[in-house]
């Protein structure tokens, strides 16, 4: 996948017009993350229902197209999953964006996998991997209700 394709396939759509870019009303989990190097910052909100299932997920913040697209896709597909499932998906995503050729999680539908795989091109741009992963790390913090901000490092 070349750069043009990476940007065009889906990033542009999600990156320029990200979904869930808002603050979930009545959220009960949230966390902030930032990337001191480039100034990206994000605030992830989760609303879990009584069965600990993610009823709604959203985010606020600013960043490059890659980080916005990644947050957009993430907040979309995490809805309806519980914490355990969500964290497994995070692991799977992080593995894919760094080295694995494909996604393996049984909690992801084929359609969801296809959506996520359009971020796979980021692999070739190591400096941008943290743009793609910032929202994911931040979501984990929200689940863990860590009080500190997440900072991405390599």
């Amino acid at each position: 996948m070349n750069l043009k394709e990476l940007y065009q396939e889906i990033i542009l759509e999600h990156g320029k017009n990200p979904r869930n870019l808002r603050k979930t009303e009545g959220f009960n989990k949230d966390a902030k993350g930032n990337n001191p190097l480039c100034g990206d910052n994000i605030h992830v909100y989760l609303k879990l229902n009584g069965q600990k299932i993610v009823e709604d997920a959203s985010f606020e913040g600013s960043g490059c197209a890659i980080s916005m697209a990644s947050a957009s896709i993430m907040t979309d597909l995490i809805k309806g999953k519980n914490e355990h499932e969500a964290k497994e998906i995070v692991e799977d995503f992080l593995g894919m964006i760094k080295e694995n050729p494909e996604l393996k999680s049984k909690y992801l539908s084929e359609d969801e996998k296809t959506k996520l795989m359009c971020l796979s091109g980021v692999k070739q741009y190591p400096m941008r991997v943290k743009c793609a992963t910032l929202s994911w790390h931040t979501m984990v913090s929200a689940f863990d209700e860590e009080m500190e901000e997440v900072k991405t490092e390599n």
């Binding site: 043009k4 940007y7 065009q8 542009l12 100034g39 990206d40 600013s62 960043g63 490059c64 741009y125």
Partner: protein
């Protein structure tokens, strides 16, 4: 002056970067290195290596002389009065920390005010912030005007009876504004205020004359000045360096060491604790020779031409918005493109071999002021050509295409 010829002195431009010619527009970050500098390092390590100042054998004596030669070259290049006013550090950041720390130990008092500007690099803010924490000094910020400049008037306005020190950049690494350092120093001195200059961007691109500027301290980053990494220079007026306490302690900076007391050595040893960056210092002599061989007036002329050309190009490019428009401007072109994040710009330009920087360039205060999280920055060096700026513009157009602008 033949830029093609000069460019040939930089071996990296013979390389293909991902199948592209390298269009290096990141010199404000760090400059490329001419062959003579790299060769000097090589020669020193393979034929002449020894530690400096500590042994009396042949190699040690020769290395010590070479090391001290560079000090003399720097002294002459920046027109310092005394050789001992030149202190080698690991970088400009260390030089600024040295100044802030030692002034904090013995000169600045609780309640004193330090005046810096909104243009300052973190390296010229965080060291003062340390003193804000430890000594309760206050930091004031001179504000930029519409053009991204700091004027003498603004400095004057921000001076209070408690202002003890002004620390300013010579040339902004974001807006390119060249500050009126000489005038600011005159004003400051007339009020008994010390002036520290962050010369990181000044040193590689402007004429340096410490007698004319008359500032009390001037910090230089050698790796931005066609020199090796891991080396900086602190110029400080003799009276200050003599009066202030040492910064780091260790071998080489002492006079007498007893179990109950220690006395420190004379300048410049007092500020050069431990084994120094010997090879880098020795090679830096060649960076100065390189700049001298071109002539700083020629460097300045060439870079002014480039920046004027680049500014015109980018101004004509709609959707590109330049940051700052100072009258007196060095070779830095920072910009944003509405709807495209600077990191995306940098990544897309990189595909064409165009190396620029994206981010806040260690100037978060300035970006906050401009209300942008980040910007893209193209910066030039002596090896750049108008064709490089044409390529920059063309790649920006590619980028706009990808983003449907």
């Amino acid at each position: 002056m033949n830029i093609d010829q000069i460019k040939k002195e930089f071996p990296i431009f013979d390389e293909k970067i991902q199948n592209n010619d390298l269009v290096y527009l990141d010199s404000a970050n760090s400059s490329q290195k001419p062959k003579i500098v790299v060769d000097r390092i090589n020669e020193f390590y393979t034929k002449q290596f020894s530690n400096v100042g500590r042994s009396v054998h042949y190699l040690a004596v020769a290395a010590t002389n070479l090391y001290e030669n560079t000090r003399t070259s720097v002294q002459k290049y920046i027109n310092a009065k005394h050789k001992n006013e030149i202190v080698f550090t690991k970088g400009a950041t260390e030089a600024l920390n040295l100044v802030a720390n030692t002034l904090g130990q013995s000169y600045l008092q609780e309640g004193d005010e330090v005046l810096i500007t909104e243009l300052e690099h973190h390296s010229n803010y965080v060291p003062w912030h340390f003193l804000r924490k430890s000594k309760n000094i206050k930091i004031n910020f001179a504000e930029i005007n519409e053009e991204g400049e700091i004027t003498l008037e603004e400095i004057e306005k921000k001076i209070t009876p408690k202002t003890k020190l002004i620390s300013i950049t010579h040339l902004s690494n974001v807006t390119g504004a060249i500050l009126p350092v000489k005038e600011i120093t005159q004003l400051a001195h007339s009020k008994g205020i010390i002036v520290v200059v962050d010369g990181c961007q000044g040193a590689p691109h402007l004429k340096l004359d410490m007698q004319e500027l008359d500032c009390d301290f001037y910090a230089i980053s050698c790796h931005k000045m066609y020199g090796p990494t891991g080396l900086g220079v602190l110029y400080g007026k003799k009276k200050w360096l003599e009066e202030l306490p040492p910064y780091q302690g260790g071998g080489g900076m002492i006079n007498e060491v007893k179990k109950d007391r220690i006395s420190y050595g004379e300048l410049p040893n007092k500020y050069e604790a431990g084994t120094m960056a010997t090879a880098q210092v020795i090679a830096f002599d060649k960076s100065i020779k390189f700049l001298e061989s071109i002539g700083i007036e020629n460097v300045m002329k060439h870079e002014a031409d480039l920046v004027e050309y680049g500014q015109e190009l980018l101004q004509k490019n709609n959707s590109v918005k330049l940051i700052g428009n100072p009258k007196n401007k060095g070779g830095v072109l920072s910009f944003i493109i509405e709807g495209v994040h600077p990191h995306d710009i940098a990544t897309i330009l990189d595909e064409d071999g165009v190396a620029i920087r994206a981010g806040h360039h260690c100037c978060q205060i300035l970006h906050d002021k401009l209300n942008i999280p980040a910007s893209a920055r193209a910066s030039v060096g002596i090896y750049n050509t108008k064709e490089d700026l044409d390529q920059l513009n063309e790649s920006i157009n590619n980028c706009k295409k990808i983003f449907d602008l």
